[in-house]
């Protein structure tokens, strides 16, 4: 390869990264709508750009891969080659490879990821040699290399899909190599499962054992789906249900018999009569031959959960593979599959069409955001920000000079006795000086605002990553989940975006893994087969709220209660006293369980304590609401540290305070006669409602100086459910301010939520009205108690230390 200029490479990496992101979001839309030629057209463009740039740079592999990709897309967009979900999957794999190559470049300046097999595969599709392909995309998208190799030789005519998922047998019908791999995996997993079943009785953590079994079976299920073995897949699904039931039982400390495990192993082996001897061969773990200890199949049937048996009766709906899994392409409306919403040929008739169109604008908004983004080293923005602050300080210096100039003008006029002609020159200069400062001030204000906004990014940056995550998580499982995103234009500080990325991924993974039921289960429950995960972001006062709502199975507080009791975290009395909401919060208690244990009693719990810790690190809160069988909503509320807020500036004595405008209901001017005292607290009557008022000077113990005695300014603030008035000396007007944190020991319980730097470089403290309301109310109670105490005691006698006067 030619020696490359590193700066050219980094430019290319950045540019290609943007194109790849753009491609990804379009490819995911394509996965839902594989026949949309406009999308092919749209994807063609970034690929073409990448091809051109990489050829110019001499990046052989990227050029070759993007060239082939471009060829295929060209055929697709012209309709010369029919599209299919399989092809779309191949396109996604190809995009991933491009992304890996770009990552290679960024890391080592060379192309490392091998792409030959993929190029060969693309060629076959282009030449029409490969009709149907289902790329085994790995659950972990990190290493699609092997899996892509796996998928290379996979010609699978549509006719091989078994018409009905009745008990049958499978053998190596069409692809020996692939089948061998399949059998090998089956052998390994079954051995593992048998071993797990055996050690179950003595395992210290039975829940975890079951969880591992679930993982194995799901992975087997995904392979079976891939091979098109629907009946087998159905069996796996039942197996999963049986294990879930066992987990429930474990959670409730009921005795669990693992006999059904061997039954299922046996039944799986029955599917492969020719390989039965190969299957249970003792692998790495010591396994007893399952056949030897398996009860007769009839007994096995009895052992199955009843629902599973019922499931078996109407097999058609169950045989349906999950979204974006195996799809018998060329997408003719085949008789076997009717209910597939993403069936391309059936496009216009679907009721989801309306929803899709509704979703359309938001998706485009997300794309626009991507296209317009520029990557800048965050540190540079911080430096810029501070320099703007310095500029503002300089500006106020100029203001001061201007005032001095005016004084000088006055002085010259009075004392120096200049004649009017000379005086006119000076006046004209002062005027122009003033004009210049006004202009400077306007520009610097805009600059400050602009720089502050640079730090803010729309949360779309984060949300746009999740359709892919869900795609990957549901692929190869028996679940269907659609992601709905709202409020992705909501802006927050880029630092926070990075910080909440992992917790959100964790929550989404939890929801998909445990929150949602399988398609079969949902149908049985009369729910729409596709679950909906709603991600919503919006601002609430100076916080950003991110809500994640799934319409899955919900969480059962009773199960959590029994688990907490069993773990000895709380006493029975404590648990009895807890509200349902408090019980739900228990899943976030560290040591509540090793993840998996709660996971399946409630459908939640994997590392929730870690999520909570991460959110709390940002001074955020996390809230869980759940309705059993209906939905679970997780609400993250995170302060917009460093975000810009609109605020009301007020003065008390010599101090300037900042009140977030979101908390301000209204401002009033009142007179001493408007104030009455009720039980030691000053109140005013505001449109018929008694509203307590508190003097900020008293709350903060600072001197006050009002312009006119007996006249007060009151800021009515809204602190949650309470409304109260804060008495200040003067209202100074509204400003946009940047919230900066105070050092922890000054901020905690202080009634302050941070500080901001005002125009002249000084610091103004930002009021935390919720905390202030708490402080005020606490003191009010203390004062009332002292008053009543004081009445009882002789007048003038000192009351006890107010610690006794505190509530609780």
């Amino acid at each position: 390869m030619i020696e490359l200029d590193p700066s050219l490479i980094s430019d290319f990496v950045v540019e290609a990264g943007e194109h790849l992101e753009e491609m990804e979001s379009m490819l995911l839309r394509l996965a839902e709508d594989p026949a949309n030629r406009d999308l092919f057209n749209a994807i063609f463009r970034p690929v073409h750009t990448i091809k051109g740039a990489s050829q110019f740079m001499g990046l052989v592999r990227i050029a070759a891969l993007s060239h082939k990709l471009e060829d295929l897309l060209d055929l697709l967009r012209q309709g010369k080659r029919p599209s299919s979900p399989g092809i779309v999957e191949t396109l996604i794999v190809a995009r991933d490879h491009l992304a890996m190559l770009v990552a290679d470049l960024a890391r080592s300046q060379t192309e490392e990821t091998p792409v030959d097999h993929l190029i060969a595969r693309l060629e076959r599709i282009i030449e029409g040699r490969e009709e149907v392909e289902d790329v085994e995309e790995p659950v972990e998208p990190v290493e699609p290399v092997e899996s892509a190799t796996l998928g290379v030789e996979t010609p699978k005519p549509p006719s091989t899909v078994p018409p009905a998922p009745e008990m049958g047998t499978y053998e190596e019908e069409y692809d020996k190599e692939l089948f061998a791999i399949f059998i090998e995996q089956l052998r390994e997993k079954l051995a593992f499962l048998s071993a797990q079943a055996q050690r179950f009785a003595t395992a210290p953590d039975q829940f975890e054992v079951l969880e591992q079994c679930l993982d194995s079976i799901r992975s087997l299920d995904s392979s079976a789906n891939y091979m098109g073995y629907q009946a087998l897949s159905l069996l796996y699904e039942q197996w999963c249900d049986a294990i879930l039931a066992a987990q429930q039982a474990v959670a409730l400390s009921q005795p669990v018999s693992m006999g059904f495990m061997e039954t299922y192993v046996e039944r799986v082996i029955q599917f492969f009569p020719q390989h039965g001897d190969r299957l249970p061969e003792g692998g790495e773990p010591p396994v007893a031959r399952p056949v030897a200890r398996t009860p007769a199949p009839e007994i096995a049937q009895d052992l199955l959960p009843k629902e599973s048996l019922e499931d078996q009766a109407p097999p058609a709906p169950l045989g349906k593979p999950p979204v974006s899994a195996v799809e018998p392409a060329p997408a003719q409306p085949g008789p076997a599959v009717v209910e597939r919403p993403e069936e391309p040929a059936a496009g216009p008739a679907w009721e989801t069409e309306g929803e899709r169109q509704k979703a359309e604008p938001s998706q485009e908004a997300g794309e626009r955001v991507l296209k317009k983004s520029v990557r800048v080293d965050a540190h540079k923005i911080d430096i810029l920000m501070n320099q703007v602050g310095e500029l503002i300080v300089d500006r106020s210096y100029f203001f001061q000079l201007f005032n001095e100039m005016r004084n000088l003008q006055q002085y010259l006029k009075v004392n120096a006795g200049l004649d009017p002609k000379d005086m006119k020159l000076i006046r004209a200069f002062t005027y122009r000086f003033g004009e210049a400062i006004v202009s400077l001030s306007r520009t610097s204000n805009e600059l400050q605002e602009g720089v502050m906004k640079v730090r803010m990014l729309p949360i779309a940056q984060l949300f746009n990553r999740y359709p892919r995550l869900i795609h990957d998580l549901t692929r190869g499982t028996n679940k269907q989940v659609q992601l709905e995103i709202r409020g992705e234009e909501t802006e927050l500080d880029r630092m926070i975006i990075e910080e909440i990325s992992d917790p959100l991924i964790h929550l989404i993974r939890n929801a998909v893994d445990h929150g949602f039921e399988t398609v079969a289960e949902r149908k049985r429950l009369d729910k729409p087969p596709t679950g909906t995960l709603l991600l919503e972001a919006y601002h609430e006062s100076n916080h950003i709220v991110i809500e994640m709502t799934d319409d899955g199975r919900g969480m059962n507080p009773e199960l959590i209660k029994s688990k907490a009791l069993e773990k000895g975290l709380f006493s029975r009395e404590e648990l009895e006293r807890m509200s349902a909401r408090e019980l739900l919060r228990l899943i976030m208690t560290p040591g509540f369980s090793t993840a998996a244990e709660v996971t399946n009693t409630s459908g939640r719990g994997v590392g929730m304590d870690v999520v909570k810790k991460n959110i709390e690190k940002l001074n955020g809160t996390i809230d869980i609401e759940s309705t059993i069988g209906l939905q679970t909503r997780i609400r993250l509320k995170i302060p917009l540290t460093l975000a810009i807020i609109s605020a009301l500036m007020v003065r008390v004595g010599d101090n300037l305070f900042t009140v977030p405008l979101a908390n301000v209901e209204e401002t009033l001017r009142i007179f001493a006669k408007d104030i009455t005292t009720v039980e030691g607290t000053e109140v005013i009557h505001l449109r018929g409602r008694t509203t307590p008022i508190f003097r900020l000077s008293v709350l903060f113990d600072i001197p006050s100086n009002q312009r006119e005695a007996g006249k007060f300014f009151v800021v009515i603030v809204n602190a949650g459910l309470r409304k109260l008035g804060l008495v200040v000396d003067e209202l100074l007007g509204q400003e946009e301010v940047v919230i900066k944190p105070l050092v922890d020991y000054l901020q905690e319980k202080s009634g302050l939520s941070g500080a901001t730097i005002i125009g002249d470089g000084r610091v103004s403290l930002i009021l935390d009205v919720y905390e202030l309301a708490n402080i005020a109310m606490t003191r009010q109670v203390a004062r009332y108690q002292e008053l009543s105490l004081g009445r009882r005691k002789a007048a003038g006698e000192k009351t006890s230390y107010p610690a006794t006067g505190r509530p609780n």
Binding site: G389, P741, D744, E748, E786
Partner: protein, 179 residues
């Protein structure tokens, strides 16, 4: 070449090892010192915004090029007499104390001193300059006077400040109730 270089480096290291550079500053008549490595910068005349409901020695916060940092009045913190001489612009030593950047108001900053590590003696049992010995890291005789090395890790004991703040809030409540 390489050998010469290495030797010089070793000498430098040795010198560094037994010599300590301190920033000297005055509070009243006493001279104090702090390891130069802790000193981030020294500013003068910065406007300080008072923060309510804090211990008396917390003077407030100031804007240090866009960062808001707490400022502590060292005299008040050390319970030294507070009749500060020379009003006007105060000196603020900006120190990095285990990652917590904090300003300390002092009367005057004098000079950078180089002293031998061996010359530093442990804090004497008796009270030095009306100072509680827990805040003293060591003392050093520098000719005419005694230089007191302060232990700023003890001076900025966050837990203590938090506790003091709560007491302060309690007192507040009392005065609020009385008023």
């Amino acid at each position: 070449m390489a050998d010469v270089y290495t030797t010089r480096r070793m000498e430098e290291t040795e010198e560094k090892d037994h010599l300590m550079q301190l920033v000297g500053f005055m509070n009243g008549r006493e001279m104090f010192g702090v390891d130069i490595l802790m000193v981030q910068e020294i500013i003068r005349g910065a406007p300080i915004t008072a923060v309510p409901n804090t211990p008396a020695f917390v003077e407030g916060v100031t804007n240090l090029r866009g960062n808001i940092i707490p400022v502590i009045d060292l005299r008040k913190r050390l319970n030294l007499p507070t009749d500060r001489q020379g009003t006007g612009k105060n000196w603020v030593l900006i120190l990095d104390i285990a990652g917590r950047v904090t300003g300390f108001i002092v009367d005057a900053v004098t000079e950078v001193l180089k002293i031998e590590r061996d010359a530093i003696e442990p804090p004497p049992e008796i009270v030095v300059a009306g100072l509680e010995s827990q805040y003293v890291q060591g003392v050093c005789d520098i000719g005419e006077r005694l230089l007191i090395l302060l232990d700023f890790n003890r001076i900025l004991l966050v837990e203590e400040i938090k506790r003091l703040k709560e007491v302060n809030m309690g007192g507040q409540r009392l005065s609020g109730a009385a008023g």
